[in-house]
């Protein structure tokens, strides 16, 4: 039994007092003290009167009266004793039987994704969510436990199970908005994992019994339905923050758009959903900037996309307006824009849309141009001229520094050491099987990577290429493999997780297998068989394309035309050539993070929570800028999801609900307060008595 909980037989209450024995002893002294104070002389207010003659006579008469009269004089005493009694009763903590001794478990999940920063609910959706969560805390009983999870693209446990409301309130208030996307699945997984508090280690209370936790999700519904997730014993309740959806409009026959789309309709936002930079193919001294803007409003919008440029040499300097494009965007649709700017070296570009809307962060998009990095490629070959020549074309040379060695050199320093230290981005083994995996991506021709998974293999003759995976980045633009002939190949079972790239009638001819953060691309047939060709692949355009794709994908090369954009909240892998072990990254807010090189030879930055341009610095003058952009249609779409519009026919309500697993969960715009503590009413009664006493005292009500 919980401490301080006891039950008096015959009463429909049990008592759960938060006070200990000492506190009760002190409390018991209070009424005694009040009575004692009354028996001691009251501190009476002196009033001068013409004569006490008549009062004395009255008093003498009264003294003769009954004890009851005497007691009636001390009405205030009785009122005070009544208050003390009520307060003591309240502190006994009476509860209706039925509310369990252990208390309810709450899992409070608060969405702090980018869309929660929208100001369409004053002050922001997140602030409202925090306020609603605090209300839930207010309604919690003293022995209820709650944990707090903040979730965006990943979920984070902000507070473990505790009944300390002050701490919970602090932790909830400390939840900061992020610019990340939303994944309810993450939150649900964390909640489900921690739903049973006996698993909990460390800070917080460990509850003994298994209770069904109530999961309160404070969100705006900006996430995909969570498929294939079993809620298990979680009881979810979604509190949807954001403006209520417009009333249900019955679908008109012949109207393509469903009533749901109409109802969910518009929200007050204009968002840049994409921004890409590319070197102009025709004029190589120009950089092209493409972007896409969506108008989520229910009305046409005329606005302007402004392009600002900031010199990479002066990070933090004032941006200069370079160009602007006027945009007329019809309601609920997109328009693209394009800027052509001269390539003047490394620069940071920013596109702004100046319209005032509910969500500010998607009105800006960032891009970084002009900081190319070449892939470091090591080729181990017995002297395959065709392979080496293909890697030395001007297009390939732009992207990669290629070092060619033979099988003898690779066993000696410095190459043996460099392979272990991750010096190279990509190592191409041509008919050479190394003894151990290098700390880099690899491409094998006619050889298998080391390791037991490749132990079983058998040779095959004249395989006929039947199919290849054109969707894979390595196989981009490759169309003519059907004409390629192969004489000898090795049939090997690709390891688990591998993606088959080229399939023949008898064996897989190429696959890509993951290995500790690296990729091994294995082409199971050699290019040359001694001095003879083993394949005619050299004769087709797909061979240089395949190599180029490999350089591009596995060489960590960066095009001067522009760096890929990163999404906020996700880890960013940075590769730098120099062998420095440390790097610092300056966030747009000015925060500086120190990074250490991982064993894979790269730097992983986890602090890109906000959009903007980040600057990495290392060594003497190593510098790299990268952009973090929201570019998330779901986050930018502020239309509230999860609330059933007014007037929706009951059979259609399911489509508006948030689906978790197979069960639609209806959202509510306000959480139902769950107040079960009965002492609250006693405290109110005490207050009422105080007010009554005040009234009696001040309004001269003589009873």
């Amino acid at each position: 039994m919980e401490q301080g909980v006891f039950h008096v037989p015959g009463l429909p209450f049990d008592f759960a007092t938060p006070l200990g024995l000492t506190a009760w002893a002190v409390l018991a002294g209070v009424p005694v003290a009040i009575v004692a104070l009354y028996f001691l002389k009251l501190r009476r207010k002196p009033v001068q009167v013409p004569s006490t003659l008549l009062w004395r006579r009255s008093l003498e008469d009264l003294h003769v009266n009954s004890l009851f009269q005497r007691l009636r004089r001390n009405l205030l005493l009785f009122l005070q004793l009544l208050i003390v009694f009520l307060v003591m009763l309240a502190l006994l903590g009476p509860r209706s039987i039925g509310s369990s001794g252990q208390g309810q478990l709450y899992v409070i999940a608060i969405d702090n994704s980018a869309s929660m920063g929208a100001k369409d609910v004053a002050p922001t959706r997140l602030a409202r969510a925090q306020a609603e969560a605090r209300k839930l805390l207010d309604g919690m009983e003293s022995n209820d436990l709650a944990m707090v999870i903040a979730f965006a693209d990943s979920a984070r446990v902000v507070s473990n199970y505790t009944s300390d409301k002050r701490l919970l309130r602090q932790r909830i208030d400390a939840i900061e908005p992020t610019d990340a996307s939303t994944s309810l699945r993450e939150a649900l997984q964390v909640a489900a994992g921690l739903a049973n508090p006996s698993k909990q280690v460390g800070e917080g209370v460990v509850a003994a019994a298994v209770k069904t936790p109530k999961l309160k999700i404070y969100t705006d519904g900006g996430f995909a339905d969570v498929d294939g997730f079993s809620l298990g014993n979680l009881e979810p309740e979604v509190i949807v923050l954001g403006p209520a959806p417009p009333a249900y409009v019955p679908p008109t026959p012949g109207d393509a758009t469903s009533s749901r789309a109409k109802s969910l309709g518009a929200s007050d936002n204009i968002a840049i959903l994409a921004l890409q930079t590319r070197r102009n193919e025709e004029k190589t001294d120009m950089i092209q900037l493409f972007g896409r803007v969506r108008n989520y409003r229910g009305e046409d919008v005329a606005t302007e996309a402004k392009l600002y440029r900031r010199d990479a040499e002066q990070p933090g300097g004032a941006p200069t307006l370079v160009d602007a494009a006027s945009l007329k965007i019809p309601a609920l649709s997109e328009r693209s824009f394009e800027f052509d700017i001269p390539d003047t070296g490394a620069a940071e570009l920013e596109v702004r849309i100046d319209d005032e809307d509910a969500l500010a962060i998607d009105n800006r998009a960032y891009a970084v141009v002009g900081s190319p990095r070449k892939a470091q490629v090591l080729v181990v070959t017995p002297g395959n001229k065709y392979l080496v020549d293909t890697l030395k074309t001007s297009t390939a040379a732009e992207r990669a520094d290629v070092v060619v060695i033979n099988a003898e050199q690779v066993k000696q320093d410095p190459f043996a050491r460099d392979l272990k230290s991750g010096r190279y981005d990509l190592v191409i083994f041509d008919q050479f099987r190394p003894e151990s995996d290098p700390q880099s991506n690899t491409l094998y021709f006619g050889a298998l990577p080391p390791g037991k998974v490749y132990a079983e293999s058998k040779p095959v003759q004249n395989p006929v290429i039947l199919d290849w995976d054109v969707s894979h980045p390595l196989m981009q633009f490759i169309r003519d493999l059907s004409a390629v002939a192969v004489l000898k190949a090795v049939a090997v079972e690709p390891p688990p997780g591998a993606i088959e790239l080229i399939k023949s009638n008898t064996a897989v001819l190429a696959f890509v297998a993951p290995r500790e953060g690296f990729s091994d691309v294995v082409v199971t047939f050699p290019l040359m068989d001694g001095q003879n060709f083993n394949t005619n692949w050299f004769r087709y355009i797909s061979f240089p394309l395949f190599l180029f794709n490999t350089l591009q994908t596995l060489g960590n090369a960066r095009d001067a035309g522009g760096e890929d954009s990163h999404a906020p909240g996700l880890p960013i892998t940075l590769r730098v050539d120099e062998a420095g072990e440390e790097m610092e990254v300056v966030a747009p807010s000015g925060r500086v993070d120190q990074l250490k090189r991982t064993s894979q030879g790269q730097f992983v930055y986890n602090g890109a929570g906000k959009t903007g341009v980040y600057h990495a610095r290392w060594g003497k003058d190593g510098a790299l800028a990268f952009a973090v952009n929201l570019f998330n249609e779901r986050e930018s779409d502020l239309a509230t999801r999860g609330l059933v519009p007014e007037g929706t026919p009951p059979e259609q309500t399911d489509q508006y609900k948030i689906k978790i697993g197979y069960s639609p969960v209806a959202g509510s715009s306000k959480a139902v307060p769950e107040r079960k503590d009965d002492w609250w009413w006693l405290a109110l009664a005490a207050l009422a008595v105080v007010i009554f006493e005040w009234y009696v005292y001040n309004r001269r009500v003589y009873l």
Binding site: L42, P50, T52, R57, L59, R73
Partner: protein
């Protein structure tokens, strides 16, 4: 609650009203001067009162010879003698009178001034005395309308002081003033020694006594609340009370008993008793109330 600035005792309009009045005495006294009043003493005036049998030593000039001629018996003609009246006013100036709004003292001064004025207008001898613990020297008897300023002057300088001792003051008064007439006692009678002895001294002088009992509104309907320590302003006696409905009820009963007791006591002894509170407009009191009670005609 002493009044800092007293309003004027009498305003001209009120004085004019007073002129219409005349003091009346229900008893007729012998005075030193022949005044406008009838005296109980049969004497040498023009108004016939009665006959009586002649006895040896009577003034032969008063024998009614016409009756002797008809009845052959000697009768004396008796006349009502007109003489001037002493109007004594005893004003309580103890500290307890310094309460109320206006203060009971101020109210009493107004009554005293009004009565004095009426007396002066009617050529009565007006004597004013203030008393607290003892009787003060008072205003020596004045007469004639022109002396009104002295009355006002005297009343203006009176301030509330000390305890009240009705008995001692009445005794001193009785010894000092030998003249007969009307005595008006203005007091709240909140004297812990009682009022009976005092009034007996006055009764013994065979004076025509009027008691004007003045209480403040606060005394009649106390506006007190809470736990209080009442301090007597005169003797600093303290009474601790907790205001409650029964206590207030009891107080009112006590007050009624006190007022009723005084009234009964007076009525039984031929003393005219008038109760008033300080919020009763004093001109109304003088013009209507006192007239009804026979003090003013």
């Amino acid at each position: 609650m002493p009044a800092t600035k007293s309003p004027p005792l009498l305003d001209p309009e009120f004085l004019h009203k007073l002129e219409q009045l005349e003091l009346v005495s229900r008893k007729i006294f012998v005075g030193r001067m022949k005044g406008e009043r009838k005296s109980k003493r049969r004497g040498s005036s023009v108004e016939f009162a009665d006959h009586r049998n002649y006895s040896v030593g009577d003034d032969l000039r008063h024998i009614d010879w016409n009756v002797y001629g008809r009845l052959d018996k000697l009768f004396l003609k008796l006349f009502l003698e007109e003489e001037d009246l002493h109007v004594y006013t005893l004003l309580d100036t103890s500290l307890s009178m310094d309460f109320g709004e206006p203060t009971k003292l101020h109210y009493g001064k107004q009554i005293a001034a009004a009565l004095a004025f009426i007396g002066l207008v009617n050529h009565d001898r007006v004597v004013l005395n203030a008393f607290g613990a003892t009787l003060d020297g008072g205003l020596p008897s004045v007469r004639g309308r022109s002396q009104m300023y002295r009355i006002v002057q005297y009343l203006d300088q009176i301030e509330a002081t000390g305890e009240s001792n009705l008995a001692a003051s009445a005794k001193a008064f009785a010894i000092k003033h030998t003249g007969k007439g009307v005595v008006v006692v203005i007091s709240d009678f909140l004297d812990k020694h009682g009022y009976e002895e005092a009034l007996r001294y006055l009764l013994a002088r065979n004076l025509d006594i009027y008691v004007i009992h003045v209480l403040s509104r606060e005394e009649v309907e106390p506006e007190l609340a809470g736990d209080l320590r009442l301090v007597d302003c005169e003797d600093a006696d303290e009474a601790e009370i907790t205001i409650s409905a029964p206590l207030l009820k009891r107080y009112k009963q006590t007050l009624n008993a006190f007022v009723g007791g005084l009234k009964d006591w007076c009525t039984k002894r031929g003393i005219a008793y008038i109760f008033t509170t300080n919020d009763n407009p004093f001109d109304k009191l003088v013009l209507n109330y006192l007239r009804e009670r026979g003090l003013v005609k």
